[in-house]
């Protein structure tokens, strides 16, 4: 039987009924209608589903919902607004890093978690952080530039 699980997403509390091992991604998308995190592979291999849980970038497609209970979950919907985009979102716009937009959730969330820990990462640290994020449009170079730009912004 599905249990009631309490989740805190983007600062708001939700009660959801789901089996403990249901991937968090399914609950975010299907129950909470937060569609920013994307299903790209379902195997934790592409990064499109990335969310931030207690400061860590996590692959929500392979993260059991029960393990997220009681933790702070941030999805891309919780980052910024139209009028006040998060520095990482703004940097992705400034560097024109998006094309089809499907991987971009994962790129932004992974970068945000990295920059929150370390606002001035070296180029190799950024590349390392993005090792699990795939982009088929090939915007990697601009994504790297955007993250460097956002880091400078956030360090100020």
């Amino acid at each position: 039987m599905a249990d009631a699980i309490e989740l805190t997403v983007n600062g708001a509390r939700h009660q959801v009924r789901a089996q403990d091992d249901t991937p968090l991604l399914y609950v975010l998308r299907n129950d909470l209608e937060l569609n920013g995190a994307k299903f790209g592979c379902g195997l934790g291999q592409c990064g499109a589903c990335t969310v931030i849980i207690d400061g860590e970038a996590v692959r929500s497609c392979s993260f059991p919902v029960a393990l997220a209970a009681g933790k702070q979950i941030t999805t891309i919907e919780g980052l910024g607004t139209i009028d006040k985009p998060h520095p990482v979102q703004k940097a992705f716009i400034d560097e024109q890093a998006a094309q089809c937009g499907y991987c971009i959730n994962g790129m932004i969330m992974t970068a945000t978690a990295l920059l929150q820990r370390n606002p001035q990462p070296g180029d190799s640290q950024v590349r390392q952080a993005l090792a699990g994020n795939l982009c088929r449009c090939g915007t990697h170079a601009r994504i790297l530039r955007a993250i460097a730009r956002a880091g400078k912004e956030m360090a100020q």
């Binding site: 998308r29 790209g40 592409c46 089809c100 499907y102 590349r127 090792a131 449009c137 990697h140 170079a141």
Partner: protein
Amino acid sequence: MREFDLGRAVPRTEDLKLLRGRGRYTDDIVLARQCHLHVLRSPHAAARIRAIDTTTAAGAPGVLLVLTGADAARDGLGTFASRVQRKRADGSANFVPPYGMLALDRVHHVGQPVVAIVAESIAQAKDAAEMVEIGWETLPSVTDTAAAAADGAPAVWDEVPDNVCFVHSVGDKAAVDAAFNGATHVAKERFRINRVAVNPLEGRTALGVYDTSDGRYTLYAGLQSPHVMRLELASNVFKLPANQLRLISPDVGGGFGMKGSAHPELGLVLWAANKLERPVKWIAERSESFVADHHARDNVSTVELALDRDGKFLALRVATIANLGAYLASMGVHVATNNLGGLAGTYTTPAIHVTVTGIFSNTNPTCPYRGAGRPEASYCIERIIDIAAREIGVDPVELRRRNMIPPKAMPYKTGLTFTYDSGEFEKTMDMALERADWAGVAARRQAAMARGKLYGAGVASVIEIAGGPADIPLEEAVEIRFDATGNATVLAGTHSHGQGHETMYRQFAGHILGLAPERMRLVYGDTDLVFHGRGTFGSRSASAGGAAFLGAAKKIIEKGKLIAGHLLEASALDIEFADGRFAVAGTDRSIDLIEVAKSSFLAARLPRGMELGLDAKAVVTPPGPTFPNGCHVCEVEIDPDSGVAKIARYTVVDDVGRVVNPLLLKGQIHGGIAQGAGQALLENMVYDPDSGQLLTGSFMDYGLPRADDLPSFEVTSNEVPSKNNPLGIKGAGEAGTVGALSAVMNAVNDALAPLGIRHFDMPATPERLWRAIRDARKPGG
């Protein structure tokens, strides 16, 4: 100059939506009562189906419907069409396999759909699939391209014992043979271009709806050409009038050609939705995509170049075996046969002959993928030039230079099919060499070798057809509708799935109509709203969509002049339109387009009898195809101990004609190079030759390029406007890929040349490179 104009580096207007997670892709659309479809696929490369027992599965918890190929036959459902026909050597028409949605009594590749199961949840559908019992009788299979064409290979189809689908020849064979007889030198090599998976980050998706009130179907799916797919499904599969079918292609997470190809699941969800009278959704899982999507490339070519004593190219002879897969994708035969003209490259080679043998194999159909035959053609000529240069002891840049078509020769009828309208190939190459610091290659090579590395540099001067086909280009449609508030809705037949069309059409509107970006909304990807469209593929959207926008805008301006003349009490003949304003010539009396649009909805402000409104449609066939071209320069460093090849530098100078938006353009070039370099260095679809099983079925086995695999690319434009497009645009979507395969592999081969390796095929993966280097270093090796 206005902000949104042609040539301006305007940031994308799409981004605020996409970067906040507000994109609306097919899987984000959730309909009431929707249920889930799972496809049970063939585990065998070739097998007979003795029996299918679905009884237990049909009774499993949550299961709503189980469908088989026999059900499709009973319901009279048709098969997908191959849109290009060719002939066999004896003149007979090529065999078109019956490409139904579900297998009937035979399967021909791993992953072929066999049974569709619909349940309340996807988990229930998958559980039920385990309960389907199928009696298989496995058969011998063949997956490798050359092996499938060899004598004695297992026949993929009983109807085609030799696996030859077609033999297609183009060019003047007699002239080529004569030129080879008189040649001073002939360079000859066999090239393999490996099979790749397209892998858009958003896999294929489909949501089918059947409306019981009017018997209409709606399909939500990531599609590059919704109108073309509507025609396919309506005419060939469901045999319905097209107006009974609505296709909506919302935000799409990358297509790259593959999402223009008709796949079984598009029909399955509609068929199931009709039977259940409920919406039915199918979402590809990634491992499923690898075995269920149409693949790409996969051919073997024997290439011969004849040169005279001065290094002038006399003739080119190419024989290609192209692997079409078990079934023919919508445009599979097109890829293998319709972009061969690119073999002429940027050179004056007077005689060219090519024969393509299309073969069946027990693999997924191959479909267009960024370039669709263009990168392959460029690779043949650019790679053989480097081999010839080495053999005759001439610098590869110098050899290209001696044979390049000069600008004064334009329009230039090449040795094969195409007539180029424009291009400054030598200047473009020189610009690229300068920006790449070609003169510094020797020093960088020396420095790398001092560190124990191998180092190579490669050049590719490439050209491709865009906005084709060559004889009569495909039309495109645009409608411009003003409303009573003076704002415009632009409805386009093209489809944006990462290209940034919303921004591009706003620039067209700014340039041609003087319209501010916030006054324009773009609609695309809905066959009920957009009246016609060919869609987005073949680097055509800027050139064909731009021509169509211009056509519709001219009609808006014509009617606007009549209204403005009336309001300004002048003859329409005296009205001039510029920068968004209608003015009486030679006076300071004027009125802007916004006011004219508002007035068009007020009968009192119109000439008596004029129809209300300000809107126009245009379906425009551009006067000719365009020929984007460019020069790519790549430098590669290889670690001989690990076999890892890294791109050290990459420089491109591209002539895509008139540049609409340098930011969008560079993004397209970057992406194209990433996909070309990905194939050259990392990506490879591998089948087990004995069992026909796909061995590369996930991102753990298949190397998609990552941030750490790619350098920053230097991209510059040499704008030479096309004479075949009213806006001068040539197109940019495929240019990066067309050059990258050649430039990267020429660099890799240059690095390996000191080891005595004459030619090394892609992909230059660490394992393959390591083996090649080890073998070359063996004594006597």
